[in-house]
């Protein structure tokens, strides 16, 4: 399925809510050129009272609700609209990512439908999957590392 319509909606909602968020996970890896798929999109964001207000505004813009499926064990906020098949996870902490600011500074700016989406660099996605260490993360690492080697060989870092 083409994720573009969903990503455009999310990018617009993030812009309107003025929420800083960086796309991570397999969605980011796919945009960076990896032949991987995913059922949802994951973001890292700066969790603060203002950030949480903005996240609620993002959900409103998308006609979705915010759930906390793993409360209190995890600071994951799930923006869900089952009817539209929308699931976007927003995380304040990501394994292998020391700071949101550093992740954001290194992210690639992707223009979609007149809006900008920040996409984590492949190196950051690889680092977070190595740190998470779940079987499904370990399974996809060879693919991501192959893509990174090819990108480095082609010298095409930082494209948008």
């Amino acid at each position: 399925m083409d994720a573009r319509p969903l990503l455009e909606r999310i990018a617009l909602a993030l812009e309107r809510a003025e929420l800083d968020a960086v796309l991570i996970g397999n969605a980011a890896a796919a945009l960076q050129g990896a032949p991987v798929t995913t059922v949802d999109v994951d973001f890292m964001f700066r969790k603060s009272p203002a950030g949480l207000r903005k996240l609620r505004r993002v959900a409103d813009e998308l006609g979705a609700v915010v759930l906390r499926p793993y409360y209190p064990a995890s600071e994951l906020f799930r923006v869900v609209d089952d009817a539209a098949g929308l699931q976007a996870d927003f995380m304040a902490r990501v394994d292998g990512v020391r700071s949101f600011e550093a992740l954001r500074a290194r992210a690639t700016r992707l223009r979609l439908g007149g809006h900008t989406l920040l996409v984590a660099r492949l190196e950051d996605v690889i680092r977070s999957k190595r740190a998470a260490g779940r079987p499904r993360d370990r399974a996809v690492l060879p693919v991501l590392e192959a893509v990174l080697r090819e990108k480095q060989r082609q010298g095409s870092q930082g494209e948008a």
Binding site: D2, L31, G33, A34, V39, T108, A146, A160
Partner: protein
């Protein structure tokens, strides 16, 4: 057509299994790299066909 007897069949030449598997692996790796190169040749905004849709009862499809 008359079938040949057992004695006349002779020994069949077969590729040793490890060498055959190695060749398959090399071909698979080559295709994989081709797939990566095709994706990298596209602009990022065109690499958006990655979403799977959940199906009722579990599982998902592209």
């Amino acid at each position: 057509m008359r079938s040949r007897g057992k004695a006349a069949k002779g020994k069949r030449e077969t590729t040793p299994r490890p060498a055959g598997l190695d060749a398959l692996r090399a071909e698979s790796d080559r295709h994989h790299l081709d797939q990566i190169r095709r994706l990298l040749a596209r602009p990022m905004a065109e690499r958006t066909h990655f979403l799977r849709k959940r199906v009722p009862g579990g599982g998902s499809h592209v």
